[in-house]
Assembly symmetry: C3
Homo-oligomer: 274 residues x 3
């Protein structure tokens, strides 16, 4: 399954509109090219509807949001919804400021997201804004471990049910779930948290994978998460071989994405479904 999804991404070369932060935007553009997509970044309210119309997916990342880009996110998201394009939300740092939290909740009301990807604490904050969270214990959500895994899976499925979006909670163990099914993914390496942008890059790759596989967004998201994890593993190998540091890791991570093929992905994916 993953192999087909990955080859679709490589072949269809989807153009992905990113409204994203200026910290990691270059990494997002390069990883999109590396995975088989094409990036276009545009965030002025006067052009985002035009731009998203020529794309096949939209990636919204609130990392360095401002008054202008918040308006653009809403406009682009609604247009993408109308066109049936997959829309990914990366609620970077939601909860860290009232602006980020309010913006995230507003976007959740205006836009039907296809995928919401964040770390445990971001997803927890998202959950608080998406209606009542009956039956979901937000307090367990500090980090996914083998001990709380079953609870996190239920939590992710419930949040997917409420939002209609695939939920990706990434960390040492990654959970990708819709309301019926969850994947538990154990690829990746801790060094991924020692460079900026691995989360942002992953969201961009998810957008591309969904744009190339719009009928299989759960599997496309899981594929992207596995792919990024495998690239993290390959990058760490490179660091070991060269006695490198975190910048070498970053170069090697994007290198690995540009070299990853479907067979290697299928073989390397450490994934179980629940």
């Amino acid at each position: 399954m993953f192999e087909v999804i990955w080859e679709n991404l490589r072949t269809k070369n989807p153009l992905v509109h990113c409204i994203t932060n200026y910290v990691t935007v270059n990494d997002c553009a390069n990883i999109l090219l590396a995975c088989g997509g094409s990036p276009i970044m545009a965030d002025d309210a006067a052009e985002v509807e035009d731009i998203t119309s020529i794309c096949s997916g939209l990636n919204i990342n609130i990392g360095t949001l401002n008054v202008g880009t918040v308006e653009s996110m809403g406009k682009a998201g609604k247009r993408a919804n109308k066109l049936g394009h997959p829309v990914v939300l990366d609620p970077v740092g939601v909860g860290a400021s009232a602006l980020r939290t309010r913006t995230t909740f507003d976007l959740l009301e205006q836009i039907q997201f296809t995928v919401i990807r964040g770390n445990s604490s971001e997803i927890k904050t998202v959950a608080q804004g998406s209606g009542t969270t009956k039956g979901v214990d937000a307090n367990i959500m500090d980090a996914t471990t083998d001990d709380n895994l079953d609870k996190v899976i239920l939590y992710a499925k419930a949040l997917s049910q409420k939002t209609g979006a695939v939920i990706a909670i990434t960390g040492a163990i990654d959970i990708v779930a819709d309301s019926n099914k969850a994947y538990v993914i154990r690829n990746g390496h801790p060094m991924m948290s020692k460079i900026t942008g691995t989360g942002c890059m992953l969201s961009a790759v998810i957008a591309a994978a969904c744009a190339a596989n719009p009928e299989h967004v759960l599997d496309a998201t899981a594929t992207a998460v596995c792919a990024m994890g495998l690239c993290g593993e390959a990058a760490y190998q490179k660091v070991l071989e060269t006695n490198g540091g975190t910048a070498t890791f970053r170069v090697a991570l994007i290198d690995a994405m540009s070299q990853l093929d479907g067979k290697t992905l299928e073989r390397g994916a450490n994934i179980e479904s629940r």
Copy 2:
């Protein structure tokens, strides 16, 4: 000729004002330093005239334009014209949104550009906005090949005649033309399209080369195009030697620019004049 132009760039160390997109701005700054120039990025309307006045060249790139920066582009361009500084236009994605197209046409009316650099489709859109395009068949312009080469050359010369700017149409085959003379350049490597920013970086290097050689802007532009192509070739060699991916290519591209000397450039340039 190219050797002298390159050594001028290395020696004069021109300060280049860039109003550019936030996706590739770091690459543009680093490639400017690598080629012998110095970068200064500034895009607030309140300071762009001051900043451009202390520089010797201006590079305008509309990659992530917004209402504020569009005003700044106009102000800076007019000031640079008044001061006689070379001004480069990189109309990134013109045609992809009404805002980009309108902005490009407005800039073409307000500012006398020294060089306009884009891919075939961008230049085609530019041509539609620069008066009547009598005698120029825009429809041939999808990509420059050996089959349509003669037509593209005529087209580029005609557009240069109309705009008063050197026209650089870059792709697998690069054309650099003024109204009288065209260069056909066959340096470079397809992997250049697998990282973001090679076009943006090239425009920045063109601005620096023209700033250091203001009396020879056609040759300075051709030199910069050859230089970037040669660096792409060198970077691809590095990728082969190290079994690297696209991020290795990007590092090696900027490395090559920082190491390129005039003699190597003269020797490696695959260029003919028409």
Copy 3:
């Protein structure tokens, strides 16, 4: 002393709020992670007070300032002052435009900075805005050399007295001074000026070092300056070994920061106190 400061930084993992330019923002985020801090970039006036409140240090860099971010700098700085967080000012290009100079002087009036870091010419301009500069000869300040070293030290001490901030004047020879004591640091390599962002990155590391060592900001600043210089030296070694260029240098610089331990820093620091 330096070893303890460095280990504090590695252990405490301070969150540093950066309001910084979009040219080198990715480098700043990555070097913060590499040195042991954590970055958060946020510049909308509606959220900077929230963001700075959850951090333990603030880094203000005017490299690509605009009307919106200038307001944010003031708000964040005042909040950080109220909370007792260290605040670093990097007055990039002050003097190059009226906007940069006015902004810098305004910020100096509104905010008590903990550290001000710039090159000779930037610090000279800062000095002109911070009250009378009696007894301080600004004209000597073109670059710190062995010939003018004593004068620069007096100048830095006097400016620290006036501003209440530690003054870091970086270049071939670095001076770090408060009103009583100055350090002269001779680490680093000229290639550091051939990539963009070494100054910006250093300011970010200073902010992190001060955030982790708020009782010892003079020593923390000197430690950060030595650390960056040592990383420059290590990066140059890597360039020699690999026949690399400036992009290799940049990767190796961040690599070195991620690998630097307190003992190596203590041993490699080329520093004297005056």
